[in-house]
């Protein structure tokens, strides 16, 4: 079958269907995800102190804001349309969706970016979502039993999860752009430690400032990988 005919079929039979049901289930998800909070609110009989909510929200939201945009934009081409809906509903993109989608396409021997690649990539991500549902359910049950056996010293050590995790994540991205990593480390330290600039402002400077710098240098051919 010629390529343009396949694309016409996808346009008519695939994208509209995926977009319609992807939109509906995403909208339902946005409502469902708040149910537990509403439930605890009803049991407690009052809303949590607004100040407490805003304190935590104002700390996290500015940090996640660029990531909300960075991830969908950067992953969209790789994940395909169906894969994008599932991935941004259920997460675990770099550690699960991307590798599984890529392996599915390779195993089925389809070309990236082709109609077949689009469908097979989507199938891979669908399979990963069904696996994740089962595993996270089993994990939620078994973890509880395991935790009862853990000694106190192990439970206390969990306060170090975040610094260890951020150190590890930095090792994933830092070496890809070491000069920019050095600049942002020094810059954010100076801003936060010496000038006590609030975290979200530091983040905006570190994130968008470095993006502007990188764009300017790229256009002048400086620090560009050949």
């Amino acid at each position: 079958m010629p390529l343009d005919e396949k694309e016409k079929i996808l346009e008519k039979e695939y994208y509209s269907h995926i977009n319609r049901y992807g939109f509906i289930t995403s909208a339902v998800h946005v409502l469902l995800i708040f149910l537990p909070a509403v439930y605890v609110y009803l049991v407690m009989g009052r809303f949590v102190r607004l100040e407490a909510f805003l304190t935590a929200f104002a700390t996290i939201f500015p940090i996640l804001l660029p990531i909300y945009f960075i991830e969908p934009i950067s992953y969209f081409t790789v994940l395909s349309v169906a894969g994008t809906y599932i991935s941004f509903l259920a997460g675990n993109i770099s550690n699960m969706r991307l590798p599984v989608g890529a392996i599915a396409q390779e195993s089925a021997d389809v070309e990236l970016g082709s109609p077949e690649g689009e469908l097979v990539g989507g199938l891979g991500i669908i399979a990963s979502q069904l696996m994740l549902t089962v595993i996270s359910f089993v994990g939620a049950l078994v973890c509880v039993a395991i935790i009862r056996l853990l000694p106190q010293s192990v439970k206390v050590a969990f306060k170090y999860v975040l610094p260890a995790m951020f150190g590890a994540m930095f090792s994933q991205f830092g070496p890809r752009a070491p000069k920019y990593a050095a600049i942002t480390l020094v810059l954010t330290f100076i801003l936060e430690y010496f000038f006590h600039i609030p975290g979200p402002v530091t983040l905006l400077i570190a994130c968008f400032g470095i993006a502007l710098l990188a764009t300017a240098l790229y256009r002048r051919g400086i620090w560009v990988k050949r």
Partner: protein
């Protein structure tokens, strides 16, 4: 914690997980139908499914292990809700939960969790995860994603890759400084130790994977680095 692990919470977790599964099954049926329409063979589609299930096992193990701290702090029901279809990246979940509990003066532990802390944690976790759904899913629905991607880079894929890389570097530099370096500079060496060990072990793990030529072992780098960082900080600093 009774409320967090009660039947009602499990029921709500099941509803969220079921919604994600329903989306996946609707897409699955349509992909199969359209695949056949464009001339793909049953065998090709079956191969894709089979290889995806097998290749999902490794990442699932990482997620499974990563659930431990979340289950310790919030119980099985909430962990199932967040990991099955609640955006789920374990570091985001732990971080939002920690901040949510900390804002009401509580610690993210089963002992430290009050009703108010639990409510704040749940509001914060939900509010901070919908951004991905809105931008990802709705951005896809209205066709914004391809347009934004082309605008940022002026259609230059190399520049786009560079922008994305340096922005991620910026995010994690800031978090490393805030969570590891500054506590160390003011005399709290536990977080700094965890951060440095996490960094070094992750780097070493990936180098080892390259030497062994077993790329699938890369899936475990985060888990190994976290465990090493936690253990080192606990043993060396306490």
């Amino acid at each position: 914690m009774g409320l967090a692990t009660g039947t009602a919470m499990w029921l709500m977790a099941a509803m969220v997980a079921a919604n994600g599964a329903v989306m996946a099954l609707i897409f699955y049926r349509r992909i199969w139908k359209v695949g056949i329409m464009i001339g793909m063979r049953d065998e090709t589609l079956k191969t894709a499914i089979r290889s995806s299930i097998i290749s999902s096992i490794g990442p699932c193990l990482g997620i499974f292990s990563g659930m431990v701290p979340l289950v310790i702090a919030l119980g099985g029901a909430i962990s199932f809700l967040r990991e099955s279809a609640g955006v789920g990246a374990i570091f985001v979940e732990l971080w939002t939960a920690t901040e949510g509990a900390g804002a009401v003066g509580a610690e993210l532990t089963a002992e430290g969790m009050t009703l108010e802390a639990l409510q704040n944690v749940l509001w914060i976790m939900a509010s901070c995860s919908v951004g991905w759904v809105i931008v990802g899913c709705f951005g896809c629905y209205v066709g914004l994603l391809p347009k934004i991607r082309d605008r940022m880079s002026g259609g230059d894929p190399n520049l786009l890759r560079l922008i994305i890389s340096v922005m991620m570097v910026g995010v994690f530099s800031k978090l490393v400084v805030e969570q590891g370096i500054i506590p160390g500079v003011v005399g709290d060496y536990g977080p700094l130790t965890a951060c440095l060990v996490g960094f070094a072990v992750a780097l070493g793990w990936r180098a080892l994977v390259d030497i062994l030529d077993k790329p699938r072992l890369n899936e475990y780098f985060l888990l190994i680095a976290i465990i090493a960082g936690m253990a080192a900080a606990q043993i060396l600093v306490g």
